[in-house]
């Protein structure tokens, strides 16, 4: 028997049979599509080069949806610590890093599934609404359904998956759901607030390059790509470094620490 496949199966059963999972995935979808639709319905472009990036407008909801994804990922690990189930799990599967890898894989997979649906729906709403709000060829937006838009949408799904991995990693480190949610949302939301008060242009740029959310969302840039702090895939790469870095650290402490 392949131990990873067993672990995967066990984790999938756990995640599937917890009542919260379906609710959280549904909330992820609703929040993402809802906020994206609000933003696509309110942002208008009143002239040439009005500066708005249609992909960022249409996929704004990812900023809200990621919070629910973080909760889902945190609960997948944190609830096991909270209920003491983790000791049973590790007794059954003593290779803890395999358990962590399986957990991360399962959480990433369900996030990807919900993310594809949410991002697809947001993109369709935006493609329907934005041309009516001045995002027209006359204002310099030739065609919204381009390869760059596709990259922004695919990148947004990957972004949500990486947020989920970050959540799994942080919770493995902290072993408490509430503290882990606070830490993940702090990591995501505090950087942009701080970047606002840092006026040194170099430091400001570095803060935006380092911030998991700001860097990761660079993948949504479709206009003025060169003017962004990072190129789209570099930005997502920074988030991936955060996610896999914390996940690795979590795996390391998992091995060395008592459960």
């Amino acid at each position: 028997m392949n131990p990873f496949r067993d672990a995967l199966h066990a984790e999938w059963t756990k995640l599937r049979t917890v009542a919260g999972t379906a609710w959280l995935l549904a909330t992820t979808f609703l929040l993402t599509v809802g906020l994206s639709a609000v933003s696509a319905a309110t942002v208008t472009c009143d002239g040439t080069r009005c500066g708005e990036d249609p992909a960022k407008v249409g996929l704004l909801g990812v900023m809200a949806g990621q919070a629910v994804v973080a909760v889902l990922a945190v609960l997948a690990v944190g609830e096991e610590y909270g209920t003491g189930m983790i000791r049973v799990t590790f007794a059954a599967m003593p290779r803890r890093e395999v358990v962590l890898a399986a957990k991360a894989t399962v959480v990433a997979a369900v996030t990807a599934a919900a993310g594809v649906l949410a991002v697809l729906a947001s993109a369709l709403v935006a493609l329907a609404l934005l041309p009516g709000h001045g995002f027209t060829p006359a204002n310099g937006y030739a065609d919204l359904a381009t390869a760059a838009t596709l990259r922004a949408a695919a990148g947004s799904v990957l972004y949500l998956v990486l947020i989920a991995l970050l959540g799994v990693g942080v919770t493995t480190l902290l072993r408490d759901s509430a503290a882990a949610v606070g830490a993940v949302l702090g990591l995501l939301y505090l950087f942009p607030v701080l970047a606002q008060v840092i006026s040194n242009p170099d430091w400001h740029r570095h803060a935006l390059q380092l911030a998991p959310m700001q860097a990761g969302l660079d993948v949504q840039a479709t206009i003025d790509v060169a003017g962004q702090p990072l190129s789209p895939w570099q930005g997502l790469g920074v988030l991936a470094l955060w996610a896999f870095g914390v996940l690795g650290l979590g795996g390391l402490t998992l091995r060395m620490r008592d459960a």
């Binding site: 919260g20 906020l35 609000v38 933003s39 309110t42 942002v43 208008t44 002239g47 009005c50 500066g51 708005e52 990036d53 960022k56 407008v57 704004l60 900023m63 809200a64 919070a67 629910v68 973080a70 909760v71 945190v74 609960l75 944190g78 909270g82 408490d176 759901s177 509430a178 503290a179 882990a180 949610v181 606070g182 949302l185 702090g186 939301y189 505090l190 942009p192 607030v193 701080l194 606002q196 008060v197 840092i198 006026s199 040194n200 430091w203 400001h204 803060a207």
Partner: protein
């Protein structure tokens, strides 16, 4: 020693629970450290524009900031002022017979400054173009004054000492509808009047200008603020600003009292010559000045403003930027507040707590009192350290910090403490309802911080941002605002620029409403539910 079922006893029990869990004490300490430490990052990661030239640090650089008046309030004080000296008490009366202006409709300045300085300008007054009579303590920048003036669209008004503005009759002054204006001085008290015919006078208001010397300058003036075209674009707004001109024609000018010397009349272009900047002599400033007109009057053309000035990004730091770390402190407090309830459920302690205190509502109240009180104290201490601490760093880096009155700074510090306290109670209530720490923490963080981020740093337009800053718990951050949205100055007063649509305490009240509603639901649920 209070009795076992007294509320004080419960509060003491909750306080004991809070202070004996190491993680929670660490969390509260972290709240204070984050609030102060993250606030410090702002000035540490900033530099003033003149600090570095071409990447090389220069030491001989000191920023005095924008010009300000005697209190420290940043002001604009630029006008064309035809004046003479008045000694002691007296009055000035003048009739404004014509009032018009010019501006660049697309914003910005003249396309070709070497040509006609007014080429490309369209006729029209700005809403706050001003022409009227002025009593001023000398002609130095920022000195005390009182004025009765006509505006572009805001009627006749009395204004004094830059920040004070009293509305008079809402009339539009023009050649068909001239207006009489009068200011009288009696000691430190100046009284403004206006009249349609020069015989029946209506008082607009009075001003007390303390320490006004015996000799003051009195006369007629005109000025007109910049015209700006604001374009919202990603991550903020771009403003295209350009000068505008206002021209007022006065006659029947009469000064009573002891007045000596002739009128000092600024010649056309004298302001531009005084400015000395390249291009100034060829911009609209070049046509500002005054010429005598029929009946002993003057035609006065001015550009600029006599009003408070609004903080401009890049020139300095606002006092509230010292409290940027509040967001970090907020997250830590929310986590601790949620945990104090959810951990009782997790460990089954809730059954013991409720067995000891069968009146369940009182248990929730005791927790709220302890958490609210502790969060308030932590927030107060952190803000009271962060504000002067950050300011010290800013001053050591020779940055300019915008003026805020002492009351505004005290309100900002106490408001931050209240913000943390109310958020803690909010998080406690939500945690009682959902009984899951992670869900409660995420919900409270998302409803408080995400709307703030969307309002100040996202693609949402100003209208949607103001709506968010009005109806979501993020409205509470208004309590930290010290910059003032002056009604008599046109500027971009959006959340992105640090201006909230609600007043400070009203904004905090919005968060209180959310917390109270959540508390009411939590109270009901706790009493009705099995544990």
């Amino acid at each position: 020693m209070p009795g076992r079922d007294s509320f004080l006893y419960l509060v003491r029990a909750e306080w004991t629970k809070l202070r004996t869990v190491r993680g929670w004490v660490v969390g509260l300490a972290l709240a204070a450290i984050l609030t102060v430490g993250l606030g410090m990052l702002g000035p540490l990661g900033s530099q003033i524009a003149c600090d570095h030239v071409n990447g090389a640090a220069i030491s001989a650089c000191h920023v005095t900031g924008p010009p300000h008046d005697a209190t420290g309030q940043e002001v604009d004080d630029e006008s064309t002022f035809v004046h003479r000296t008045l000694t002691g008490d007296g009055s000035i009366t003048a009739r404004l017979t014509a009032f018009g202006g010019k501006y660049f409709p697309s914003g910005g300045g003249p396309a070709d400054p070497t040509a006609d300085p007014t080429a490309g300008m369209a006729d029209g007054l700005q809403p706050w173009s001003k022409a009227g009579i002025l009593v001023k303590n000398g002609t130095t920048f920022g000195s005390a004054y009182a004025a009765v003036l006509a505006t572009g669209t805001h009627g006749v008004r009395m204004q004094y000492d830059y920040t004070h503005d009293t509305a008079g009759p809402a009339v539009t002054v023009g050649s068909a509808t001239p207006r009489w204006l009068r200011l009288t001085r009696a000691g430190d008290t100046l009284t403004g009047y206006d009249s349609a015919d020069g015989t029946t006078w209506t008082e607009i208001g009075t001003a007390r200008l303390t320490n006004l010397p015996r000799n003051v300058e009195v006369g007629v003036f005109a000025t007109s603020p910049d015209f700006a075209v604001v374009k919202n674009s990603f991550g903020g707004s771009a403003t295209n600003t350009g000068p505008s001109l206002a021209t007022g024609t006065f006659d029947q000018i009469a000064v009573t009292g002891q007045s000596s010397g002739a009128w000092t009349v600024p010649a056309i272009g004298s302001a531009a010559a005084g400015d000395g900047g390249p291009g100034a002599a060829r911009g609209p400033e070049a046509v500002a000045g005054a010429v005598p007109s029929a009946g002993g009057g003057f035609t006065v053309t001015g550009t600029g403003d006599i009003a408070p000035s609004v903080p401009d990004e890049g020139q300095g730091k606002t006092p509230e930027s010292a409290l940027a770390g509040t967001f970090g402190g907020l997250i830590a407090v929310i986590v601790v507040a949620a945990l104090t309830m959810t951990s009782e459920y997790r460990r089954g302690l809730i059954r013991v707590s409720l067995a000891a205190s069968p009146r369940r509502g009182r248990l929730l109240a005791a927790k709220a009192v302890v958490l609210g009180g502790v969060s308030f104290v932590v927030g107060l201490a952190a803000a009271a350290i962060a504000v002067p601490g950050v300011r010290a760093v800013e001053h050591s880096k020779r940055m300019y910090v915008y003026y805020a009155s002492t009351q505004a700074e005290i309100r900002m510090v106490i408001g931050t403490a209240a913000l943390l306290a109310v958020s803690a109670v909010f998080a406690l209530a939500v945690a009682t309802i959902v009984r899951r720490g992670a869900a409660a923490v995420a919900a409270v963080i998302v409803v408080i911080i995400l709307p703030y981020l969307l309002a100040v740093a996202s693609v949402l337009p100003a209208g949607a941002a103001e709506w968010l800053a009005r109806v979501t718990p993020a409205a509470a951050f208004a309590v930290q605002q010290t910059v003032i949205a002056w009604p008599q100055v046109r500027a971009s007063y959006t959340p992105t620029n640090g201006f909230y649509p609600l007043s400070p305490w009203l904004g905090l009240a919005v968060l209180c409403l959310y917390a109270a509603a959540a508390y009411a639901v939590a109270h009901r649920q706790l009493r009705r539910r099995d544990v």
